[in-house]
Symmetry: C2
């Protein structure tokens, strides 16, 4: 039992905090962090970064022309902002090309549906396919069916994602995206359509990665926007057979080259120790990846730059890592872990921004059990931003998984997931949705926390190696 | 000066109201209207009508298969609901077919744009066209330019629609849609793109009719969603030449047959006098026309049905007219006026529902000057629904224009236009956006007002024939 939950220990914690925190952070350091937080609230570096990334690179799925532009953009921007050791570490990524998807109800009442192929979907036969629809709420409902109820049909998963600040509905909603098509194929379905794993009421379907299935020839897998899923359900509610015609021209184009783009604010004294600030440079292809994860790229970059402008740099090095291909297989995260396998122990703490630039409300920290007082001292600095302490169940974000599993402590800045899942992985994830004030608040939180982590007298301990980690609530996946 | 503004005469009006109202409506009639209002608030006839229309007919632009289904649906539903004299009066409509539109920024930073052809747009040459973009805020800014600044280029209108409860921003925003392409063509532009005439932040562009230009070969005309217009503006802000590639395959297919669908709740005593409740049966093709104007169809139908279920029917006949092709030339409105030209004087009052099923907040009445006390008595019955008195500048809605110009008094139930212009003429105008409670409130208002208009001892006078009427704020156009 490596971690102690603070749970109801709030009052006790408050009483003993100052003494324990004083052991790791002195008053001057806490004052500098507060000053940094205020400077961040008046700084629009991050906003300009999201603007230029979404304008000049745009959609940047792994291996696409936009991805290539994004890597060049990131190298150029990190250099221009004064980062040191700026480099692009090569990452090989899979290249999937969307093509065109169409869906229409043929009967009983013909209508066109707004649809998007899921990442990795295969194409339909040329000319499309037509079949009757059989609906199921969830994958497990499908799996309980005999083959004859499914074979030759188009499976339709109807589960609607629940809206919540912490995004917990995503884990359930995304299950059909991950393994729905494979489960349907196993029972002989000719295609899978699903209600989008998102909460938007716009006709902009949600895309995202599917899991790889073993030994079953894949079938086309498409997502319907929520209004289109509603319409299909309305027609099914008539009791008549509902037939769909689908066409999709997605294809695989082997592998391509991308890169993790890295830059540093070098420390003094403990410069070999690293506080890692992560985000992912790639995006899905439907929108311009403004919140997912242009905002994260901008937040960690602007935060590190601000820390570098402090009266003196902190003791440890702050390393910004802009990961390649988070969306479709975590290629960059794996490549970084492999390339830096000899230096994992020098990564004293990792934070990723991958939940969009929405209202930050919490700090969670998965650190060594004797470091919680330090965490509470750090959280007190971001409390004026509306960020409360939210316990030890931090994920660190998808890109930090490989290092976390090798012992790196992680923290999360939790942000409001309600608006996030209206946009996430849809065409609507665009720059106009970024609120400059909320973006600054995120930068302020990351800047203050990163500075304190890099400056604290002690580190954050280590996590047990290969610890099982929660993934369901990681929206970036 | 045919109309007297009440303006600040509220207190005086309240003092004299009971006496004047008593001349036209007695206490039993007012009580019956209030009971009708309450029954409407517990009735979901309208919700079921919108559901079935959007599910079974779906998009129903003039002359399309959906339009044909909608006419059959309406005849069947009016009969099933107990209307009398149900018939489909033939209307010839123009048939424009959307085809496929694509737009992409070629340089400086290639990106795909979400785009929709405006109604009536011509196609691009096969293979598309490519040209540099020249932006203007409004049509008048373009018109002040020398030809050499425009010729050979793609004109881009950037004006952003203002959000407001009364929708007044639409009049300005829609100007580029109406005459922007013609003005650009006159100066030699090869195509026109515009920021959508709507307030949505989704990537669902707004379509709608253009005005016919005289003697200038038309050019393709496309609308960009607001986020896409933002992106194009961002690229233009770099100061570099921005080049667009456009393709569009819209085409005209001559004329087709549609119909005005009509049904009546027959009056007693004054059955030859008509209170007309209008809505339009057609919709644009991108969404399923849930608010525009499925909601209107449902509101006037359900309201008339409820009036027909009163203890005794009112003195006058309530005629529901579900107009053909409001969206693209008011074919049904013109056909109705022509077919009933001998009976215009028997139309004592007209109301149209064409602003969606959003929160009703006002009643405006363009009636004879000596009928305002009657109007105030009627308004007092819908006051508990949140509906205040909003003066004499009623438009009556687009479909009622031809009768209004021939003297028919009109009233408007004003509804909140803020959410309306997020959906209007876009793919997002779908059934899920209809709030059953707000829909019922609209039905309650129409039912109470229609009942009182049909029951009042006197009519509403006549308007001056061929009076100039405001059209800018008519959202249905």
């Amino acid at each position: 039992m490596p971690f102690v939950r603070l749970a109801c220990g709030l009052a006790a914690g408050l009483l003993v905090l100052p003494a324990i925190a004083a052991g790791a952070l002195d008053d001057a350091e806490l004052a500098e962090a507060r000053a940094l937080r205020e400077r961040a609230l008046a700084d629009d570096t991050a906003y300009e970064l999201v603007r230029s990334l979404t304008t000049e690179a745009g959609p940047r799925s792994a291996g696409s022309p936009g991805d290539v532009r994004a890597v060049a953009w990131a190298v150029e921007r990190l250099r221009a902002l004064g980062f040191e050791k700026v480099r692009a570490e090569p990452v090989t990524v899979p290249r999937w090309v969307r093509g065109e998807a169409h869906a229409e109800i043929v009967s009983p009442w013909p209508q066109t549906l707004a649809v998007a192929a899921l990442g990795g979907s295969v194409a339909t036969p040329t000319g499309g396919l037509e079949a009757a629809v059989v609906p199921f709420t969830k994958v497990e409902d499908l799996e309980a069916q005999p083959r004859e109820r499914v074979a030759g049909r188009i499976v339709f998963f109807t589960h609607r994602m629940e809206r919540s600040r912490d995004g917990h509905g995503y884990g359930t909603a995304v299950e059909a995206r991950g393994r729905g098509a494979a489960a349907a194929a196993k029972l002989g379905a000719v295609a899978m359509v699903m209600r989008s794993s998102g909460t938007s009421s716009a006709r902009t379907p949600h895309t995202g990665a599917q899991q790889v299935a073993d030994g079953i020839p894949p079938i086309p897998a498409l997502a319907l926007s929520n209004p289109d899923a509603d319409l299909l359900e309305q027609q099914l509610a008539s009791g008549r057979e509902v037939r769909l015609r689908l066409s999709n021209t997605s294809r695989w184009e082997g592998e391509a080259q991308s890169a993790n783009v890295i830059g540093e604010i070098r420390g003094r004294g403990l410069a070999e120790e690293i506080v890692l600030l992560g985000a992912h440079l790639d995006s899905w292809d439907l929108g311009t990846g403004a919140h997912d994860d242009g905002a994260g790229v901008a937040i960690v970059t602007a935060a590190a730059k601000l820390v570098g402008e402090a009266k003196q740099p902190p003791k440890r090095t702050i390393r910004v890592v802009l990961y390649a291909n988070e969306e479709f297989g975590l290629s960059g995260a794996k490549a970084y872990a492999a390339a830096h396998s000899g230096a994992v122990d020098r990564h004293v703490l990792g934070l990723e921004s991958d939940g969009g630039a929405f209202r930050p409300y919490g700090l969670a920290a998965r650190v060594g059990p004797d470091r919680l007082a330090l965490v509470r001292a750090m959280q007190s600095v971001v409390e004026p931003l509306g960020i409360g302490y939210f316990g030890t169940e931090a994920s660190g974000g998808a890109d930090l998984g490989p290092l976390r599993e090798r012992g790196m402590p992680v923290m999360d800045i939790l942000t409001d997931s309600e608006p996030y899942f209206d946009l996430h992985h849809t065409a609507d994830d665009t720059f106009d949705k970024v609120d400059p004030d909320l973006l600054r608040r995120n930068v302020a939180a990351f800047a203050a926390i990163a500075y304190l982590a890099a400056e604290a007298e002690v580190g954050f301990g280590r996590l047990p190696v290969k610890e099982a980690t929660p993934v369901a609530s990681q929206p970036g996946k």
